[in-house]
Amino acid sequence: MSDTPLAAVVAPPPHDRPLPEAVRLLARRHRPRSYEAIPWLVAIAGYFAFPDYLQLGAQVFIAILFALATDLILGYGGVITLGQAAFFGSGAYVCGIVSAHGWTEPLTLVVIGAAAAALVGLVSGFVVLRTSGLTQLMLTLIVAVMLGEAANKATSVTGGANGLQGMVISPILGIFDFDLYGQTAYIYCLVLLFLGWLAVRIIVYSPFGRTLTGIRESEARMHAIGSPVFRRRLTAYVISAALCGVAGALLAETTSLVALDALSFERSGAVVIMLIIGGLGRLYGAFLGVPIYMILQDRFAQADPTYWYFWIGIFLLAIVLFARGGILGLIERAARLVRK
């Protein structure tokens, strides 16, 4: 072995010998697959098929981006969080406040919102990620309710319970103005969602993403092989926060309004529920769970607003009892059955 030239070890095996199955699997893992185009094709088709629902569509994209960012820390990072609204709301409020004070360029506003949320993520992550279990859950929750309470009381800055007013948003790139039908908002949010998805996809398939999954599966083992567990988690937490901030800023820009519900516990809870419905830690859970949740909410709330809670509760119970892994988990199981 020692006299084998290095080149012979490194050189690819000759073409007539197939690669071992494991190697091929690993090499294939991150390649784009045909089904990954489906959400984007649906979104583009939606633009032409439902011209009256473009505003709603933009809201769905924003929620998907929010859920995708949450998936990074919850599904991949394994941090049970009930406080993601802290980042969403920070992004929305900072974007809104800056725009109300005269800086109206939408793309820089998104960056500002993301930076603000990342900062909140860095500071709170430093605290939250030092703990585990119930304490961690509590701390994520408390950070969000504290910010909500602060926004509620700081009426001179945030408008308090009346919401932030007076936002002005310039046309995107100086050309595309936000219109009444939401055509601009739809495309704008779709493009940013795509970029966000691309970022998350690259992250979860990168060595860094594998470390995250490793930490989720066994923190002790990752410590044992020398992985800087806390730093990795904190990095993921900040990235997730920044993306949540982008989603929040988009909401502020497309609706020209920021209300207290951007920071509410309901928002933190709903995003987790949407992810679970779709399928956690699967990259596409958000794309399924969010539209299903929002459509169901819309339907049930129209038919019987009082009992929306009842049906979502039953639906959730069914998922937890019979369909762990959400809808994508079901699809995976079905696919495995078919292949057998």
Partner: protein, 293 residues
């Protein structure tokens, strides 16, 4: 000076009354979380149920107040066993996230159920005549009902602690909380012990919800709105401890009353900040033991 003194007395009085209610509701949560390692976000549902059953019996059927409270606690405690056997049990030792979702689903269903049965208004709570009005203590007037809550709470807490310290059943529960596997291997039937402890915890929560209906109004969103409050008491007190939540409830009850009295413009902000700091310094809570979940 007299004003400051009177404010301190008033804050202490109302704070302690609030703390009693908080403790009665939260102690069961601490024990179930510690004993079964179960993240039970639906605990407030049982407190709300207690409040609803009590007010219905008391207001609509003229059942005497003490009896209505007792029936509420027993009905909810017994009813919760059915839930424990059918739903909770499946998730013991499972994924925390599944537990979170299952219990959140229960909260949602309870909100709709409460709206359906009792409407979206707050359940009316008027103390019985002999507990209404004011009572004079050390030369000052205090609301009789709150004084009653303090006394009743103190009696219940004493009974609970004595029961856990002195009875065989209490010893079993303590053993199971401390080390479930060891308890099992010395022949304690932890499965039925779980059911009993769960019923005890929810029964106490119902008691707290019923007695505290005047402080924490009972309405459909009760379990969701007060969730953070109950969780804070448990997290600050220390998971799985029985005395921890008592001191946490005292601390938070008095602090909350004080902050709301002194700086009402900040609302609950300080309580959250206080909790954040405590959990930062002692992640396992004030009375939690380091090295135990």
């Amino acid at each position: 000076m007299a004003d400051v003194f009177s404010a301190v007395i008033s804050i202490a009085f109302h704070g302690v009354a609030f703390a009693m209610v908080l403790y009665l509701i939260s102690v069961g949560l601490s024990v179930t979380m510690g004993l079964m390692g179960f993240v039970n976000l639906a605990h407030g549902v049982f407190a709300a149920a207690g409040g609803y059953v009590m007010t219905t019996l008391f207001n609509d059927y003229g059942v005497p107040f003490p009896l209505a409270v007792a029936i509420a606690a027993i009905v909810v405690g017994a009813g919760s066993v059915a839930l424990e056997r059918t739903l909770y049990r499946r998730f013991y030792g499972g994924d925390e996230l599944d537990q979170v979702l299952m219990t959140i689903a229960l909260v949602f269903i309870s909100i709709a159920g409460a709206k359906y049965i009792w409407g979206s208004e707050q359940a009316p709570m008027h103390p019985p005549p002999y507990l209404a009005g004011q009572v004079e203590l050390i030369g000052r007037d205090f609301p009789t009902y709150r004084a009653f809550i303090i006394v009743a709470g103190a009696v219940l807490v004493t009974l609970l602690w004595l029961g856990l310290d002195r009875t065989r059943l209490g010893a079993k529960i303590r053993a199971a909380v401390d080390n479930r596997r060891m308890a099992q291997s010395v022949g304690i039937d932890t499965s039925s012990l779980f059911s009993f402890t769960f019923a005890l915890g929810t029964g106490l929560a119902a008691l707290g919800g019923a007695l505290g209906a005047e402080l924490l109004p009972v309405f459909p969103g009760y379990a969701l709105d007060n969730l953070i409050l109950f969780l804070i008491v448990v997290a600050v007190g220390g998971l799985g401890t029985i005395r921890g939540p008592f001191f946490a409830a005292l601390l938070l009850g008095v602090a909350d009353t004080a902050f709301k009295y002194l700086v009402p413009e900040f609302g609950s902000f300080f309580i959250y900040a206080l909790t954040l700091v405590i959990l930062l310094v002692r992640p396992k809570g004030l009375f939690g033991q380091i090295g135990r979940a």
